[in-house]
């Protein structure tokens, strides 16, 4: 109870969107006006809209765009950074606007996106809002997601149900998004430090300035070090969070850890090899360039004299062998993707059943697919929940009505399907891994995709918009508002 009342809540933005363009589906102008409810204390709530503003145009090539925000204080729980922190709001607004525009222009929503997405780029692209997108291939992401979802097949199924007048109607919702990761508040731009130490017994210790809570840094940092130094993963210990050992670190947030913390650990490993090479060369009284390092055996050998092998760990015997390295990259990175959501709406009750979510989430190079998928699943569920289920509710006197899990409609396993993830990896040039951040992407694409899907399911009844979460009552009211009461 204290947690639901006292810990920061997420989102709480109201949007007024205006969008216009040509009948062929080309968008010419877009405006978003943001009202941010900060809750009782304007902490994170005051600055979140700045991220929304930064990401105003999303992945779209919009000639004229404008956004501004007000942050207001209310007598409710303070609002803070909640998975996506300002970017899901931007995506929700632009992708809802895209669907409204598609409806007004009479053009298929996928076609509108296809027409307006920025074409593929590999040199950084600066938007008018000041964001420098590092790399992107948005149209390919869209096409891959549509193909995996069998978009044409879904449209056919939807048409069939509409013709039959089925009670359960099918809705298809799209969202194409781009988001900003690794943009920390670190002095001197995005950076993180990592320490790698090799011990005489052949084990290694990694110290990281990130702070994982289930993302799997132990696994991946060990993988990265193992790849460089040839030490088996199960002989590598990763430590974090102990300020006695690790005086500096940016922690984990904003999807920064792999691209900065992982890169730092990789860099430290490479620098450690340089130090080790110098030591080995000095002890053999040869030039460092006369040594080869074989990662499979984790040992140096003299060129032309393969029997003379110096194990890496032996170089830690007389003097500690460790390197602390700070990795910085030129700026934030911008993962992107497209989500396709499929819902069934019971047009008599308004109940929404989420049937499928098919996604492309491109965060550059994937180091560990299992862990990356886990982040996508979690983000998709969280983003979807926001669209059709979860909300914090206060009554007119400001009394919280959702202060326990008995009232707050927290998503359970029965409300979501298994998700369908499509692979796509467009590397970034900003770090040697080619990696961007994946942690929040799922929750950014899923929210507008699911909301759009629900509205799409009843658009043939004349519904053009339903605020989220699309609770059964909201859906029912939207249907009735168009058609009048349908009680026969």
């Amino acid at each position: 109870m204290e947690n639901l009342l006292g810990m920061p809540h997420g989102r709480a933005q109201q949007h007024k969107v205006t969008i216009g363009g040509m009948k062929d589906g080309t968008v010419l102008a877009y405006r978003i006006e943001i009202l941010q409810d900060c809750g009782a204390y304007p902490k994170a709530g005051a600055f979140l809209p700045s991220l929304t503003i930064l990401m105003t145009p999303g992945p779209y090539n919009i000639p004229r765009a404008e956004s501004w925000s007000w942050s207001v204080v209310t007598n409710t729980t303070p609002v803070g950074a909640y998975r996506g922190a300002g970017r899901p709001e931007a995506a929700a607004a632009i992708d809802r606007a895209m669907d409204l525009f598609a409806d007004a222009a009479g053009v298929d929503p996928a076609e509108v996106r296809r027409k307006n997405l920025l074409p593929k780029f590999s040199e950084p692209h600066k938007t008018a809002f000041g964001a420098v997108y590092d790399s992107g291939d948005y149209v390919t992401g869209l096409e891959k997601a549509l193909a995996a979802a069998d978009y044409e097949g879904l449209l056919a199924e939807q048409a069939k149900r509409r013709a039959n007048g089925d009670t359960l109607q099918l809705g298809i919702g799209l969202a194409s998004y781009v988001e900003i990761t690794g943009a920390g508040a670190e002095a001197g731009g995005p950076n993180e430090n990592g320490t790698v130490e090799v011990h005489p017994d052949g084990t290694a210790t990694v110290l990281t300035g990130t702070s994982p809570h289930g993302q799997g840094h132990q696994t991946v940092w060990a993988m990265l070090v193992s790849n460089e130094l040839g030490i088996p993963i199960d002989k590598i210990t990763v430590k974090w969070g102990d300020t006695d050992l690790i005086p500096k670190g940016g922690g984990t947030g904003g999807s920064r850890s792999l691209q900065l913390g992982g890169a730092a650990v990789q860099q430290a490993s490479r620098e450690l090899l340089d130090v080790a090479r110098e030591r080995a060369a000095a002890s053999l009284e040869i030039a460092p360039s006369d040594l080869d390092f074989d990662v499979d055996t984790s040992a140096f050998s003299v060129k032309g004299d393969p029997d003379k092998s110096v194990p890496l760990s032996s170089l830690a015997e007389t003097e500690r062998l460790f390197v602390n390295s700070v990795f910085s990259q030129p700026g934030a990175t911008f993962p992107f993707g497209t989500h396709v959501a499929v819902v069934e709406v019971d047009t008599e009750t308004g109940k929404v059943n989420l049937r499928r979510v098919v996604t492309v989430d491109d965060a550059g190079t994937v180091i560990n697919p299992l862990l990356a998928e886990g982040q996508r699943h979690g983000g998709i569920a969280q983003g979807a929940a926001q669209a059709f289920l979860e909300e914090v509710v206060y009554d007119d006197d400001g009394n919280p009505l959702t202060a326990t899990f008995a009232d707050y409609p927290f998503l359970s396993a029965t409300e979501v399907p298994s998700f369908e993830l499509v692979d796509m990896a467009t590397p970034t040039s900003y770090n040697p891994l080619g990696a961007k951040g994946i942690g929040e992407a799922g929750s950014i694409g899923a929210t507008p995709a699911v909301q759009n899907a629900v509205i799409d399911a009843v658009s043939h009844l004349g519904v053009t918009h339903i605020d989220m979460p699309t609770s059964p009552q909201r859906v029912w009211r939207a249907i009735n508002a168009v058609n009048g009461s349908k009680e026969a």
Binding site: E348, T349, T402, S412, T414, S471, P472, Q473, E487, A488
Partner: protein
């Protein structure tokens, strides 16, 4: 999170439970599964001075056939009801209702007696019992009395059970293929946003009886619908009357008019024999 202090007694028989109730009076509450009572005690909405644990009184548990009724001991747990082949054959709407309560963990502990005595107007079992037209065996200091489901629930979380009484058994009519009267058609609709929620609106239909949950201070009969069916109206026409005589509340899930609408829609589906 932590209940107020109380004394704890273990009843060895129904008689023992009754004598303990008589001894402690209004300060005592009976404890079977505790899944209605303990949540209230944890937020201190209930602070009984004494809990009398009847969970191990063997005579209060069990499912058996007695003539044209199924008799169910009050401390029989939801999971047992849901999994009982006998109940699924003879009174499937009750077995189905028990399977809808909460989640598996709750069903491993909660009991039919506890649920009925708790008299939550949004709950599954009171609604199902009302649809079945079952009855409740209440044991008190002066013996056993039987109260019909129509008369048992008198207000929100209020039944006719006196502080010195023990709900000992539940009786429901047999309505399966092997039952004396043959199969009675039934349907069950529980409208929720999440699987383990209480019903925003619930409907149980059994033969010509229709019971509603979350449409008033107690589970209610949809009497206008029942009358219409009796006079030969179609299911569709009869269901349109389902909200008559009800007084649903409102919360952030549903306003009054939406609940009334759901009652109509779900009554039609339940009368068509659908579960969902």
């Amino acid at each position: 999170m932590i209940p107020a202090s109380f004394d704890y007694e273990v009843a060895e028989s129904a008689e023992h439970a009754l004598s303990l109730l008589a001894e402690h009076g209004e300060d005592a509450k009976l404890l079977a599964g505790g899944h209605s009572l303990l949540p209230m005690m944890k937020v201190r909405l209930a602070q009984p001075a004494v809990l009398i644990d009847i969970a191990r009184v063997a005579e209060l548990s069990g499912i058996r056939i007695e003539g044209d009724e199924v008799v169910i001991g009050a401390t029989t747990r939801h999971a047992e009801l849901a999994g009982s082949d006998l109940l699924k054959a003879e009174a499937p709407v009750l077995a189905y209702a028990a399977a809808q309560v909460g989640d598996p963990q709750i069903r491993h502990r909660g009991t039919i007696g506890g649920s009925l005595a708790h008299a939550d107007p949004s709950a599954d079992l009171p609604m199902a019992l009302l649809a079945l037209g079952g009855s409740l065996e209440i044991t008190g200091p002066s013996g056993v009395r039987v109260v019909g489901a129509d008369d048992f629930f008198v207000g929100p979380f209020e039944s006719v059970l006196g502080p010195d009484e023990l709900l000992s058994a539940v009786r429901v009519p047999r309505g399966g293929p092997n039952s004396p009267g043959g199969t009675v058609p039934w349907g069950y609709q529980k409208f929720v946003r999440r699987a383990n929620d209480w019903a925003i609106v619930g409907v149980a239909a059994y033969g010509g009886r229709v019971a509603l949950a979350s449409m008033g201070g107690t589970p209610l009969r949809a009497t206008a619908t029942e009358e219409a069916l009796k006079s030969g109206a179609s299911i569709e026409e009869a269901a349109r009357l389902a909200a008559e005589g009800t007084s649903p509340g409102y919360d952030f899930h549903a306003d009054v008019d939406y609940r009334e609408h759901l009652a109509r829609v779900l009554t039609k589906r339940a009368l068509e024999g659908k579960t969902g």
